[in-house]
């Protein structure tokens, strides 16, 4: 049973969610304020943390920021509906996914499963693929889930890693948004959902442009994304 930490200051809601999620086959631990959440998240070995933004003492963003300095555990943010900016802030500081709250619990479970599937795939060794993938100045070390830029490690979240991995595997080819969402996020692309764009934009910021100043990950308008493959440099 996957162990999960649910952080929400609404005790009643948390209790009901615990009941619902255990029916769905999760082992759920709860925390009701930011400090406890951070402590538990760092101590316990959870496979996923569900983090509400609105919490006393430390809010969800602060918890995530501090957590990311030490751990890359998958985090699903619950943000306030109608505050679109929050969603982006969450993804920028390293959440793997977000959901606007209040949300349908079925949707929550679907998102949780997608994240867990991704991290499972990552931990399970995939012998068919070579451990190291190098394109230009970027090197992926799959077993360690590390990204090296000019032999220097770049900190990425597991979702960002997946996005980059898919793009690098298909370097030089256009990857449609639908395909990228399915392979990297483990779920279908929703209408008006910009989280994929956010992850790509984060990767661009972290990796910067190519040595010749060209955009590393190109947006192919109306289709998807493409990782620039440099024939001469590779």
């Amino acid at each position: 049973m996957p162990r999960i930490l649910l952080a929400d200051d609404d005790v009643e809601l948390a209790d009901m969610l615990v009941e619902y999620l255990s029916q769905e086959g999760f082992e759920v631990d709860t925390a009701h304020d930011g400090k406890t959440t951070l402590q538990k998240a760092l101590d316990g070995h959870y496979e996923l943390i569900i983090l509400d933004v609105m919490m006393p003492e430390l809010n969800g963003f602060d918890v995530l920021r501090q957590l990311r300095t030490q751990s890359q555990v998958p985090v699903l943010m619950l943000t306030a509906r109608g505050e679109d900016v929050d969603n982006i802030v969450g993804l920028e500081i390293g959440a793997d996914d977000y959901l606007a709250k209040p949300c349908n619990p079925r949707v929550l479970v679907a998102h949780m499963r997608a994240i867990l599937r991704r991290s499972e795939q990552a931990t399970a060794n995939t012998p068919a693929k070579a451990d190291s993938l190098t394109i230009g100045d970027i090197e992926l070390q799959r077993s360690a889930r590390r990204v090296l830029l000019n032999h220097k490690a770049v900190t990425v979240t597991s979702t960002e890693y997946r996005v980059l991995e898919v793009l690098l595997e298909e370097a030089g080819h256009v990857v449609s948004k639908q395909e990228l969402s399915a392979r990297a996020l483990g779920r279908e692309l929703n209408l008006y959902d910009r989280s994929l764009d956010m992850h790509v934009s984060n990767m661009r910021k972290k990796l910067g442009p190519l040595a010749d100043g060209e955009e590393r990950i190109k947006t192919i308008r109306g289709v998807g994304y493409q990782y620039s493959y440099q024939h001469s440099g590779a």
Binding site: D10, E12, L13, M16, L17, E19, Y20, Q23, A80, R81, G82, E83, D84, V85, I88, A100, K101, P102, C103, N104, P105, R106, L191, Y192, R194, T219, R221, G222
Partner: protein, 464 residues
């Protein structure tokens, strides 16, 4: 003298009195001066000069020339200069006052009984140069200034004499009035600007600080204006805050409701599935409404936190239309981009996409089945540097008098809140607010069959 009433009263009164007084004083001073000269023995220099000129002219023996000269002199001088012969008759046949006639006969008498040469006399030349005779064609004339006939009318007829002081007075009083007018109207202009901005919704406008050290009715008005703006701001602020807080508070029970619903489903009682579906649908509606309310409240209160970057609007629009087309396809409608130009603007992509999304989805909602929503983006022909996005549907359109109000929250065209049209009447309000934050404008226009929403946005200059 703090009050505006007294300021206006006193300064107008002063300026008027000053002008009138100065003119009167100048004229009477001039008259006095002339009288004083007349009574003194000292001849005026210009009389001597005129006698000299007349004598020079007389040498040509042309009486017409002398008459012309005399007329010119009369036009120029406030004092009438008479040229009298020995009988006391003026060369120009003007009437001669009695005292001058007497003086002429006295001079004539003295002249006859003294020994002298006909033409010139050394005694005359030295002692009384202004009494020297002017002899033309053998007739002897004397130039006599008629000091007593000088009148105010003559002076005013010859404005050159007192032109300088009058001009000076006009200039000074003009400057005073100009400054006064400026002083009075400048703060009114500022007040007006602030009122206009307030009317446009900028409740942070205050005018008192720009009033300096003034203390009058205008400053009192400015203070009242500031007080009014403050009250308005507080009132509207508290309303918005209330809306925001209420929406926030509504979320918690709704979140619990949804989980409770999920639990009810898990317990698996198939007989109630239909009712549960219904509850879920309504909860979803409520959820969306709260989301929109919060978006709107956020757009109206926390506008300082928004980050603006350069955005490829063309790509953003394409993305939105693509998503919307997919959604529209399900209800047998289409969304097409019929015209587009490459545009970059300074903005917040989240806000802009939600604005465009709301407009496009609204159009899909109202366009008739089997028709297409047409989206176009072009340079604004009337305003260089602006772009206009047009979203046109083929629906029922809206009554003319509602073209403005559809951008207000909860205003919908159909009186019945028919479910079919969906939405909550917030989409366009959110869109307009977001466009407004980007310095743009939004209007609605009825077409032959349907409605066009026009979004105007300032383009980002390539140099910026």
């Amino acid at each position: 003298m703090k009050s505006l009433f007294w300021k206006i009263f006193v300064s107008f009164w002063l300026a008027l009195a000053l002008f009138a007084g100065l003119t009167l004083w100048m004229t009477s001073y001039y008259l006095e001066n002339i009288r004083r000269e007349a009574s003194s023995d000292q001849p005026r220099n210009n009389i001597i000069e005129y006698v000299r000129q007349a004598r020079a002219l007389a040498q040509d023996s042309d009486i017409n020339k002398l008459q012309d000269w005399l007329r010119q002199l009369d036009k120029r001088e406030a004092i009438p200069y008479l040229l009298l012969d020995k009988k006391g008759v003026d060369l120009l046949k003007r009437s001669v006052p009695l005292y001058l006639q007497r003086r002429v006969s006295r001079l004539e008498y003295r002249y006859l009984y003294s020994e002298h040469e006909e033409d010139d006399d050394s005694e005359h030349r030295n002692r009384r140069p202004h009494h020297r005779p002017i002899i033309i064609n053998g007739k002897r004339y004397r130039l006599m200034p008629d000091f007593r006939s000088i009148t105010l009318n003559r002076i005013l007829d010859r404005p050159r004499i007192i032109a300088t002081p009058i001009l000076l007075a006009a200039l000074i009083s003009g400057i005073i009035c100009l400054l006064l007018a400026r002083y009075l109207t400048a703060p009114i202009g500022r007040l007006r600007q602030a009122t206009q901005k307030l009317a446009q919704g900028d409740l942070t406008q205050r005018v008192s600080p720009s009033m300096g050290k003034r203390k009058d009715e205008i400053v009192e008005l400015a203070n009242d204006f500031d007080y009014m703006a403050e009250q308005l701001q507080a009132l509207i602020g508290s309303h918005k805050q209330l809306l925001r807080d209420a929406s926030h508070e509504l979320r918690s029970p709704l979140a619990r409701l949804q989980v409770a619903l999920g639990l009810a489903r898990q317990r698996g009682d198939d007989s109630k599935t239909q009712e549960l579906d219904r509850i879920e649908r309504e909860a979803e509606r409520l959820n969306e409404l709260i989301g929109q309310l919060l978006t709107l409240a956020r757009l109206e209160t926390n506008t300082t936190e928004i980050e603006y970057n350069a955005i490829d609007l063309t790509a953003l629009l394409e993305q939105i239309v693509e998503d919307a087309a997919f959604e529209a396809h399900a209800s047998n409608r289409q969304v097409n981009i019929i015209q587009s130009v490459p545009v970059t603007i300074k903005g917040n992509s989240v806000l802009l996409s939600s604005a465009l999304e709301n407009v496009v989805r609204n159009a899909i909602r109202y366009t008739a089945e089997e028709t297409a929503v047409e989206v176009s983006m072009s340079e604004d022909a009337e305003k260089p540097g602006w772009i206009v996005i047009k979203v046109r549907d083929h629906g029922p359109g809206i009554p003319e008098q509602m073209l403005e109000s559809i951008f207000e929250p909860f205003v919908r065209v159909g009186l019945a809140r028919d479910r079919q049209s969906g939405g909550y009447g917030l989409g366009l309000a959110i869109a307009k607010r977001a466009v407004h934050l980007h310095g743009g404008q939004m209007t609605a226009v009825n077409e032959d069959d349907g409605l066009s929403i026009l979004i105007y946005l300032p383009e980002l200059k390539s140099s910026e």
